[in-house]
């Protein structure tokens, strides 16, 4: 995927007049020493897709084991390692880096900046992820196998595990440092480097959602780092923060973890909201309905995300007043979330809609993410949650939010901006095959899990009674179909574009799209907006 244009057309006018030629390093040096935001964005996206495949293979091993009752392929210990590593890799290795990749590529382009504020730190943020990923994946080969305490790394399990837990903790520290550096970079870029005329309330929604997400990251990643540091000192330095044998409190770990963990959920979904807010207006050929309310709703969701953490812990025991507080606070989040859903629907209302692949994924996102939102509301009710805690209903809920939510939005964003990134139009037919295969197989995989959970099947078990066999078999078949659909996406959609096979993309392939990224040629030149562009009153066009 190259962003370099040797002889770019001058369709972008002012945006690229001074530095069309890229004189930086080439070959492997270009990537290892990359300081260009587009190159680093590409690295993040390729890394996250690789981790998606690794996490996907672990998921398929889980589903293969659960295809029928009894133990067929893995023993229960390995099964616990698979569920733990699947969660960790998908959250920290696939979804989060993918959104950072989008931020690297699109934030400077959308605000008219020449690059990220700290280009070398940007390089460091990315390359820190490689040793962290190697530590995580390599932990499978350590004595005792990979961490198996669940992605939440609950004590006291973490205190009883082998050396791979130390590798896991170290990896999380590295990933946390990378995230904090990335967040600082994004905040400074957005607040300090916008082109003249790009006021905050004229900024594209994707930048707004990332600005808020970056603040969330800065607030909560250090809390996770603190929790796992205390786990480390409990393991090796004689403390007893979470070790009940020494007077520690494992439930305190859960409080600290979920103070990080719930905002983390929004870290993985707010940038997705931003992508959808870019795509829906483009294919409805209307302005985004309620722009200001979208900004306030995003901020409200971020603030509320700090006061709902204990809804993950209703069964640990807490006063009724505590249950009521966390239940009502959680339900309150549905208000700003509904504002966003209604605004997207209102944007589509009476629009001249067309359904190219980005819009299909965006509409699919709205439908399926909303189902995940509703099951979240059901789980927010303490009396119901106490029944459904740690059942497959919860697994279904968060996969509807994170796969149909975050992942579908990422796919929508890839299809939307791929012409800008590569200069090549992807195959619309292949894109639609990918969408329908993903949507259908996703629902085949995860919808039956609602029934399994309601019937009482617990999560994180390698075996189950015969009564759950049918729905598990269906879910496993769906999972393999979903996995194949993603391989198809890479082979049939992404690779041809990276290799330059396909129709040449125009500067603005979507006639309803607005924003500064469409003011530069496709593919985006290596250097863009080297001198701050002069913008029109709406800050969506370059006029000089």
């Amino acid at each position: 995927m190259s962003a370099v244009l040797d002889h770019p057309a001058h369709a972008g006018g002012h945006a690229h007049d001074a530095h069309d030629h890229h004189h930086g390093p080439s070959g492997w040096r270009r990537w290892l020493f990359a300081t260009n935001h587009k190159d680093i964005g590409t690295l993040y996206l390729l890394f996250s897709f690789t981790m998606l495949m690794v996490g996907g293979v672990l998921a398929l091993l889980i589903r293969a084991e659960l295809f029928q009752p009894g133990l067929q392929l893995v023993n229960p210990e390995l099964f616990n390692q698979l569920t733990t590593m699947h969660g960790l890799i998908m959250v920290f290795g696939a979804i989060m880096p993918a959104f950072v990749g989008f931020a690297n590529w699109m934030v400077p382009l959308q605000i008219g900046a020449s690059d990220m504020a700290f280009a070398r730190m940007n390089n460091f943020s990315f390359w820190l992820m490689i040793p962290a990923a190697l530590l995580l994946v390599g932990s499978f080969f350590m004595p005792g196998g990979a961490p198996a305490a669940g992605w939440t790394l609950y004590a006291p399990l973490t205190l009883q595990m082998g050396p791979s837990m130390d590798a896991g903790i170290f990896a999380m520290h590295i990933l946390g440092a990378s995230s904090i550096m990335g967040s600082i970079n994004i905040i400074v870029t957005i607040l300090n480097m916008r082109a003249p005329g790009m006021t905050l309330m004229k900024m594209p929604m994707f930048c707004w959602t990332w600005l808020i997400t970056a603040y969330l990251l800065i607030a909560v990643m250090p809390v996770l780092a603190g929790a796992i540091t205390m786990t480390l000192t409990d393991r090796h330095f004689g403390t007893s923060f979470f070790n009940p044998a020494g007077g520690g409190d494992p439930v305190m770990y859960q409080h600290i973890f979920w103070f990080f963990g719930h905002p983390e959920v929004y870290i993985m979904i707010l940038p997705a909201f931003g992508i959808i807010s870019q795509i829906v207006p483009a294919f409805a050929r209307k302005k985004l309905f309620g722009y200001a309310s979208m900004v306030y709703a995003t901020s409200s969701i971020a603030i509320l995300s700090f006061i709902v953490w204990a809804h993950h812990m209703f069964t640990t025991g807490m006063p009724v007043t505590g249950q009521l507080f966390f239940m009502y606070a959680t339900m309150l989040i549905s208000v700003p979330t509904a504002v966003k859903i209604f605004n997207w629907v209102a944007t589509m209302w009476r629009g001249s809609m067309t359904f190219e692949t980005p819009m299909l994924f965006a509409v699919g996102f709205i439908f399926v993410f909303t189902i995940g939102g509703f099951t979240g509301l059901i789980l927010a009710m303490a009396p119901i949650d106490i029944q459904l805690q740690d059942t497959y209903y919860v697994v279904a809920h968060f996969h509807y939010v994170l796969v149909a939510g975050s992942l579908f939005a990422l796919f929508a964003g890839v299809y939307y901006w791929l012409p800008k990134w590569t200069g090549v139009m992807y195959s619309e037919v292949r894109g639609k095959i990918h969408f329908w295969a993903s949507l259908i197989f996703f629902n085949i995989t995860f919808f039956p899990m609602h029934f399994l959970g309601l019937a009482g099947m617990p999560r994180r078990y390698a075996d189950y009674p015969m009564q759950f066999a049918d729905f598990n078999a269906i879910a496993s078949i769906g999972a393999f179909g979903f996995g194949l659909a993603q391989v198809y996406f890479f082979v049939a959609v992404v690779l041809p574009c990276m290799r330059g096979n396909g129709a040449k993309a125009p500067q603005k392939p979507w006639d309803g799209a607005e924003g500064l990224e469409w003011e530069v040629p496709s593919p985006a030149p290596f250097h863009t907006f080297e001198t701050p562009p002069k913008l029109d009153a709406t800050a969506t066009r370059v006029i000089g």
Partner: protein, 36 residues
């Protein structure tokens, strides 16, 4: 990027980094010192 903007960027980055450091140290200090 002008020298002034670089300086302004660095100042803001240090403020944000100090917020992150405060959360990290503060959370642990709270648990170590105030938990009984």
């Amino acid at each position: 990027m002008t020298a002034e903007q670089k300086k302004s960027n660095l100042r803001m980055a240090l403020v944000l980094a100090s917020v992150a450091a405060t959360f990290f140290v503060g959370f642990m200090a709270k648990i170590i010192l105030l938990n009984h």
